[in-house]
Each structure stands twice: as structure tokens, then as C-alpha cells.
């Protein structure tokens, strides 16, 4: 499948998954800790040497889309822009020394499982920390907020890995 078509399919699917399924997650008391966001995988999936300015703009646009659904006025946009920014510097660390096609994105097959998990884990954590920090915008109940971010990003990471494998299957059809 054409990589751009594939990217658009994944984009639509991920945004739907975010605003239809994950937004309506009902887990009772655990709901407070588990508010995973996964839509930013569309930024993580951009090619390695993608223009950082453009990727921040993409983050802004889709952050605002999610903001519209969540009524959060720019919180997600801010977090997504920050994610794109940090991703730009982090990509260099997970790439192999040589022989990497800079036009392709980071996948398990390209960089190996461990590096992929590190890449996804760190960026998930950055996103959630940024989001929960700006949502609270106070140092009250700091550790509670911190645990909220950690648990949510762990859940988000698990979903992202599932998503990754399901799209590998999807590619085969």
C-alpha cells in the first residue's frame, strides 16, 4: 500500500479510536489514573528525517482536533507540539549507527524491539507528563499527578504496541 494512504488510514483510525473508544473508557475508580492518549502515534510514525517545523505544525493541528473533542482548549495541542519537538532530538539516539533509510519511520523491524520500546516509552511519558502538568498547572498533589501520568502512559504504550502489530498484519492484506 502507498505509504501516504497507509498513513491517512492510520491517522483516521487512531483519531476515531481516541475519541470514540478511549474517551468513553469506563473503569470506575481506576478511571482517574487511566486516561491514555494514543492519537500522537501519527507523529511518532512520521519519517525519521521529517522536517521538524512541519511535524510540530502537524502536532498542533491534530492536537487542536483532539482538543475540540475533549473541550480542553489547546492542552493537547501544546503537548503534541512538545512531543514533536522532543522527538526531533530523540530520534538520533535510537537510530542504528549506519545503513538506515532516513525516509522510513521507526518500527520494531527497523530498530529492534528494545530501542522501539524505549522510543515509544519516553515519548509517551513526555506527552502524558506534559499534558497532566499543564492540566493541573499547580504543584498540589504532585505525586498523584505524577502517578497518573506514569500509569496512563504505561497503558497508552501497551495500546500502541498492539496497534503497531495490528498494522503490520494490516499491511499484509
Amino acid at each position: 500500500m502507498n505509504p501516504i494512504t497507509r498513513y491517512i488510514v492510520k491517522l483516521l483510525f487512531v483519531i476515531l479510536l481516541q475519541v470514540v473508544a478511549l474517551k468513553n473508557l469506563e473503569l470506575g475508580a481506576a478511571n482517574w489514573w487511566i486516561t491514555p492518549f494514543i492519537y500522537f502515534v501519527i507523529i511518532l510514525d512520521l519519517p525519521v528525517k521529517f522536517n521538524p517545523l512541519l511535524s510540530m505544525l502537524i502536532g498542533l493541528v491534530f492536537g487542536l482536533v483532539i482538543d475540540a473533542f475533549y473541550d480542553t482548549y489547546g492542552l493537547h495541542a501544546s503537548a503534541a507540539v512538545a512531543l514533536s519537538f522532543f522527538r526531533y532530538y530523540l530520534v538520533g539516539f535510537v537510530l542504528p549507527r549506519d545503513g538506515f533509510d532516513t525516509g522510513s519511520s521507526i518500527t520494531i523491524r527497523n530498530v529492534g524491539t528494545v530501542k522501539y520500546l524505549v522510543y515509544i516509552g519516553i515519548l509517551c511519558l513526555i506527552y502524558h507528563l506534559w499534558f497532566f502538568a499543564f492540566e493541573a498547572f499547580t504543584f498540589d498533589s504532585f505525586f498523584l499527578r505524577l502517578s497518573q501520568a506514569f500509569v496512563s502512559s504505561f497503558v497508552a504504550m501497551s495500546i500502541l504496541i498492539l496497534l503497531h502489530f495490528s498494522f503490520i498484519k494490516f499491511d499484509k492484506y
Binding site: 475519541v19 470514540v20 521538524p52 517545523l53 510540530m56 505544525l57 498542533l60 492536537g63 487542536l64 482538543d67 475540540a68 473533542f69 475533549y70 473541550d71 480542553t72 482548549y73 489547546g74 492542552l75 495541542a77 501544546s78 507540539v81 512538545a82 519537538f85 526531533y88 499543564f134
Partner: protein, 282 residues
């Protein structure tokens, strides 16, 4: 000038990041006032609102069963208040409690799990409420539109009902327009859509379309529950009553939810009637 541009180019990513962050944070912190709440970046705009409408219209199908259950429950509580199910008890000289009204009829909801409509004489209905729900023989059963029948036997969790469309069924009724009493029976020429009213005097003018309702005298049903509508009136030669064919209000071919009527004062009524009969026999 050259140097400034080169500097900007060198730090373009950081500068862009700062610029976008400031933009976002302005949006975040101005989001608290009412003007921005109504602005385009909220769920009240046409696209997002329309999307939520769509997703709700799909997800609401998953709750239909629960909603139905709730509506049934509500119907039941409404029915309790209707049909004159409350009688006054506070008319004596002294009232100790301030309770003027006393609940006479209670309703238990039940589902029809088996029924027949085509038997020549003895149709029956089975409902899923039995002795565990205090259902006993000789209790009235009301459907969603009108009466269904009277329970005849019950075990732990099921009861059988003699519906109107059974040759053994007899119930005192009244003609709603003239309030004249009669009885409803099911004769050989009746189908599952009809029944026959006898004992209404010939002098009473009965028109096609008049409502026949329960009389409430046997203590089985409350007063005024619909039974049927008059289809045809036939005079019977040599008799003082007329024969009335009625079309049943309850559709016995599609009957699912019923409520069983429990008359709390029934034993009192039976007792006093029995005492009276004994008085005559002496």
C-alpha cells in the same frame, strides 16, 4: 542582517517550538472565559457536535434493553396509582395514623413465556412469576393494553393463566357508557380476537365501539381496566339479556409483558361475603 537570519535559521526549531507553545498556552488560559467556550475549538461546533450525535445514535442501541426495563418499571408504578388502586380508610371517628389512603392493589411484572391462541376450547398462558413472587391462583393478569386473564395454578417460579380466550373463563364486567353489569365469556364461535358478553339487559342501548371494562367486583381486577370494544349486538329470543360480541383490546397473538394484580383486601372481601351467605343458609 545576514547574521541575524543565519541565527534564526540555526535556532529555527527551538524558536518555532516556543512560538507554538505560546500560542497553545494563550489558548489554554483564555479558554476559561465564556467567549472562548463557544468558539470553534470546542465540542459545540458543528463538526464535532455532529460527530457526537452520530456516535450517540449508534451507541444508544446498546442500551435499548436496559431502557425498556426501566420503562416497564415506570409503567408499573404508574399503574399502581391508576385504576383506583387506593381506597380510603380514614373515615372512622378517630384516625391514629394520618394515613388516609391505603394501597389496595399491587402489581408484579412478569413475562409471558408460553401461550396458545388456536386451541378450540382451552387456550392458556404461562408466565415467569410464581410463588417466589407471591403469585397465587386466582389473581388477575393485565397486559399492556387490557386484561389478559386470571392465574389458575402456580409453582415455585411459574404460573399458568386462564386467558379470556378460554372456555372456562368468566368475569364480571361492565358496559362503560351505561355502567351496566354483565359477564364476559368465551364461546365456541369466538376466535382469539373476540369474546362474548352476556347478561347485559336488552333495555340497555349498546352501540358498536363502546368500551367494555372490568367491574372490580370479584376482587381480581381493579375497576375500569379495558377488556374490549363492542363489535356487534345480537338480541337473544326469549331472553331478557342481549348477547354482545366484543373485540379484545389485548392482542393475544403478540403478548410479552404482563403484570399480575394482587388485591391486598381480597381476603377481607371474601370473608364478609362468606359470612353473609352463611346467614342466608341458616
Amino acid at each position: 542582517m545576514q547574521n541575524i537570519i543565519r541565527l534564526l535559521q540555526k535556532f529555527q526549531v527551538v524558536l518555532m517550538f516556543c512560538f507554538l507553545q505560546v500560542l497553545c498556552l494563550i489558548l489554554v488560559f483564555s479558554g476559561n472565559n465564556a467567549f472562548h467556550r463557544a468558539s470553534i475549538a470546542s465540542s459545540s461546533n458543528v463538526v464535532v457536535g455532529g460527530f457526537y450525535d452520530l456516535s450517540h445514535s449508534i451507541s444508544s442501541y446498546f442500551h435499548l434493553k436496559k431502557e425498556n426495563e426501566q420503562l416497564l418499571q415506570e409503567n408499573l408504578s404508574q399503574k399502581k396509582q391508576l385504576y383506583g388502586s387506593q381506597i380510603e380508610v380514614g373515615k372512622s371517628f378517630m384516625t391514629i395514623n394520618d394515613t388516609i389512603y391505603f394501597q389496595q392493589y399491587n402489581f408484579i411484572k412478569a413475562k409471558v413465556i408460553n401461550s396458545s391462541i388456536t386451541a378450540p376450547k382451552h387456550n392458556f398462558i404461562t408466565i415467569n412469576a410464581g410463588e417466589d413472587l407471591k403469585v397465587e391462583p386466582n389473581m388477575g393478569v393485565i397486559g399492556t393494553k387490557g386484561i389478559v386473564g386470571v392465574t389458575i395454578a402456580s409453582n415455585d417460579s411459574y404460573s399458568t393463566v386462564t386467558p379470556i380466550i378460554n372456555a372456562n373463563f368468566v368475569l364480571p364486567i361492565r358496559h362503560a357508557t351505561s355502567m351496566t353489569f354483565g359477564r364476559v365469556v368465551w364461546e365456541d364461535d369466538d376466535t382469539y380476537l373476540t369474546a362474548t358478553v352476556i347478561d347485559v339487559p336488552s333495555s340497555v342501548a349498546v352501540d358498536v365501539g363502546d368500551l367494555i371494562e372490568t367491574r372490580g367486583s370479584a376482587g381480581i381486577f381493579p375497576e375500569g381496566v379495558p377488556v374490549g370494544k363492542v363489535l356487534a349486538v345480537e338480541p337473544v329470543s326469549g331472553q331478557t339479556y342481549q348477547k354482545i360480541k366484543i373485540g379484545l383490546i389485548e392482542d393475544f397473538s403478540a403478548i410479552y409483558n404482563v403484570s399480575v394484580v394482587k388485591n391486598i383486601k381480597k381476603i377481607d372481601q371474601q370473608e364478609i361475603e362468606k359470612q353473609t351467605m352463611e346467614l342466608y343458609q341458616q
